[in-house]
Symmetry: C2
Subunit: 214 residues, 2 copies
Amino acid sequence: MPKHVDPEARRRLVVDALFRVVVRDGLQRTSLRAVAAEAELNIGSLRHYFASQHDLMQFAMESMIDRVSSRLLTHLDRIGDLGRHPRTEQLRLTADLLAELLPLDEERRAEVAVFVDFNAAARTNPTFGALSRKAATGTRRLVRGVLTRLAATGTLHPDLDLVLETERLSALLDGLGLTAVLHPDVLGPQACVDVLATHLGGLSLPGESPRTTR
Amino acid sequence: MPKHVDPEARRRLVVDALFRVVVRDGLQRTSLRAVAAEAELNIGSLRHYFASQHDLMQFAMESMIDRVSSRLLTHLDRIGDLGRHPRTEQLRLTADLLAELLPLDEERRAEVAVFVDFNAAARTNPTFGALSRKAATGTRRLVRGVLTRLAATGTLHPDLDLVLETERLSALLDGLGLTAVLHPDVLGPQACVDVLATHLGGLSLPGESPRTTR
DNA sequence: TCCGTTGTATCACAGGCGTGATAGAAAGGC
DNA sequence: GCCTTTCTATCACGCCTGTGATACAACGGA
């Protein structure tokens, strides 16, 4: 039987409101009252679903990480076996996959914006410490994975240090996302994908010059 | 005649205290009272030198940018004419220069930590907006400059898009700094310089494999 | 010596914050 | 019908914030 309210849906509603507040006003100004107002909920109701600010923040950031990583997994499934595609196609598919982490549309822009505030806060706020670390190692595992698969099919330049290249590509993605969110006029979406495509092209055997779809 | 107190020295003292608080507690918790306590100054005295919190923050961030950019200029002077060095040396010198932006020691670690918080805040706090932009374009001008000089002496691979490569290297530096500050166990100082050196090596003509000094 | 500038110190206020406590309303099983 | 659980709503408390106002000390030139 359906309850009058679905608690899980309520929490999603609150978390969505929180993201909007963070994107608009910054994590600093994201108070319980502000989130409640944004969700058009009474602060008392909000506190019925989240015992404390700490709980709300933690749950919200977990949701964010889950959302991004599930999208990445979906994208990975869609690609399927990388070896079945021609080499230039492999690079394009890989670029498209990694571009999920870049602020190329409003949805991803909001995600990266939240991510920037969240990571900065994690440096000094133990609430986020573990989650920030999980996110960092997660992207590194993903990057490491795609590089390994590309190397296995012989698409990559053979004598690459994959550990080092994982760090290099991860840092590049982090940096692109950061600048694209902070200064969209300095680094627009098209420039992002160009840089990413160039980087992947540089890792591959000569003659491959991929281009990502929009 | 020397006044009893030097106002400029006083301000430097306050700004240094502010940096310590930001590094330790985060920008979020950097209140006037906290800074005054760290500087062992009365909040009244502090307010005598800075009319408002806005002024203090702005002045502090300007000081930070000045500090880094003057260090970069000094380093540039020390290098002198790049063309007089052999090619591998050119790459090493360039890597050392750009490494001024990476958290390789405690001093630079503090700078980058402040920078992370400051940039995140700049996204939603108009106090920092212009300065954050200035910092971003500043590093891009520097990167663009060194790449141009390397290209002029024929050290770089000839058919590089320098605009694109400027963004790529800038993003790499941003990303390395961010991760090295947030997760020093994931990305240590040595890994930072290795990645940077590899990247520069990839931009250069074949056969050049630089290695930076510690 | 007097006086104006500069620096130091303190109080008070209004506003925002998270949170404990509590009171009612609404809903669903019996 | 009643009773328990779930949900909504509001009050009050203590804490911290930036800032205006103000008083007082200390110095330097006249």
